[in-house]
Amino acid sequence: MTALLPPGTTADAAMLQVRQLTARFTTRDEAVQAVRGVSFDIARGEAVGFVGESGCGKSVTARALMRLAPEGSSVEWGGSVLFQGHELLSLPEPAMQGLRGRRIAMVFQDPMTSLNPVLSVGRQIDDMIRRHAGVSAAEARRRTVDLLGLVGIRDPARRADDHPHQFSGGMRQRVLIAMAVSCQPDLLIADEPTTALDVTVQAQILRLLLRLRQDLGMALMLITHDFGVIAGMVDRVHVMFGGEIVEHGAVDEIFAAPRHPYTRALLDAVPRLTPGGAVQ
């Protein structure tokens, strides 16, 4: 069923329960309320989409789950983010660091800039595995090579020693995905994971995310401005506008019968092939 605000919740013991989340940025001369009371649940293994235009608060909502504030800004979180029984907004920073990457991981929008340019990609994944799993360097490297193979990088043992500039955008996104799933997180947040990539690569990356989600049993939070990306990827969709969730529901229902005018506008923005063959 498609429901207008306030969004209903799924199970009463969902893995992630976000209640009345607010985010307020203060700069020197003004305060911006980027998220205004967002509530949603994500169950174990579920794929949930967040759709909306730039600046609607979807990325900030995702960052709240990891308590990551954009560098150089001060953000004030409000409400509650309950993840596996822990209140993330008040968790001490060391515990939060232990959670980031291990329980909740994130794939970013721009693979060209999200890797450290001076370290080999293998080294970057090794570091993360060693930090979270506490295994030896050799074991970490073995897992790294497996992961790079898993995300579809050919000759992973050799490629692990290459630096980011030796990879294409799509390949770098695969590396970042490998890094994100390296500790088998329970929730993978993908923030516009295909926006910076060209269309053919987009499809490959989405398929990869879908496959990994099934293989590893992760929940997926997919953030995008493109309804075309959502279709076939997620179970439920939340449509965000102006820092609020304006509509949410099962993905086919929203596609078939959008109720909020903003959702309709977003859907109309997706180019579509008509029986006549023209692109509208």
């Binding site: 560098e71 150089g72 959670l99 970013f108 800039t113 001076v118 370290l119 890094m179």
Partner: protein
């Protein structure tokens, strides 16, 4: 209709595409490294290659160049070439140790200041501003006057004087690099703040630091010799380039080589580091990335 130009013609018309296999600055960097190697070899082998004991006097004072004394002797008959070689050890030792100290302090202060920001940044930068506000020589003379002239004091003085410059060179790029995506990505996988600062920010600042270090070495050679020239360098009888210059000054009409020798040595050492800095700057393409 489209026409295909014959292959040879097209190839001839196109100017030879410069194959940039060798990055710019490689030649300059090479020259700098060779100059540095030569200087280090002579200095490190000092006592072995020096033809005479640098502190032994002889009645044969202010002699012109000869087979025994290639650059002649000074006012109390000491061999100028030997003194140049041994003197270089003192001057270069002070220079290298002082700059190493300044680089370490500059790295720590610049990185913590730029990365942590906030009040740490304010406190560190204001403190460095105070040091920075003094003219280099005035500050150096004041510190040496307070602590007394000795090699450790001179090293400390010069380290203090050049720390602010290096800290600023580190802090600037850190301020921007800490906002790059890969830093947030590292944070999102649970990397600690210390590891982010040292492994994901610091390595990206290394090129400007290398260039600035080389420039600082050039400046420091000059500062060390100038302070010694003014009589607040390492105490005699061990030679160094600055004090040799000041002692020989009075006899420069009688024995010009006693002045020209150390002057050329100082110029050579300074040039070495300037060439190296420029080579590094172009080779690492600082500021064009």
């Amino acid at each position: 209709m489209t026409e295909l130009a014959p292959a040879e013609e097209a190839a001839a018309a196109a100017p030879a595409v410069p194959t940039r296999r060798r990055p710019r600055g490689a030649v300059l960097l090479g020259i700098g490294l060779v100059m540095l190697a030569l200087m280090l070899a002579i200095t490190l082998l000092g006592p072995v290659v020096a033809p005479h004991d640098a502190t032994r006097t002889s009645p044969d004072s202010l002699a012109g160049p000869s087979a025994a004394h290639w650059l002649g002797t000074d006012s109390i008959g000491r061999d100028v070439l030997s003194r140049l070689i041994i003197g270089g050890r003192t001057t270069l030792f002070i220079t290298f140790v002082a700059v190493a100290l300044a680089v370490v302090c500059g790295l720590v202060l610049g990185l913590s200041s730029g990365y942590l920001g906030g009040w740490v940044d304010q406190v560190v930068m204001r403190a460095l501003d105070i040091v920075f506000a003094f003219p280099v020589f005035l500050l150096a003379i004041a510190v040496v006057a307070a602590l007394g002239p000795s090699v450790p004091n001179l090293v400390l003085t010069i380290a203090i004087v050049y720390t602010p410059t290096l800290a600023r060179v580190v802090r600037g790029p850190v301020l921007s690099i800490k906002r790059w995506d890969h830093v947030e990505a590292a944070r999102s996988v649970g990397v600690s703040e210390f590891a982010i600062a040292t492994r994901h920010v610091l390595p990206l600042v290394l090129s400007p630091i290398l260039v600035q270090t080389s420039l600082t070495l050039a400046q420091t050679i000059f500062t060390v010799t100038a302070l010694s020239f003014l009589g607040i360098g390492p105490p005699p009888p061990n030679p160094n380039w600055g004090s040799m210059l000041s002692e020989a000054r009075q006899f420069m009409e009688l024995a010009p080589l006693t002045v020209i020798g150390p002057a050329v040595a100082i110029t050579y050492a300074t040039m070495t580091f300037i060439v190296l800095a420029n080579g590094l700057r172009e080779f690492l393409d600082v500021g064009h990335r």
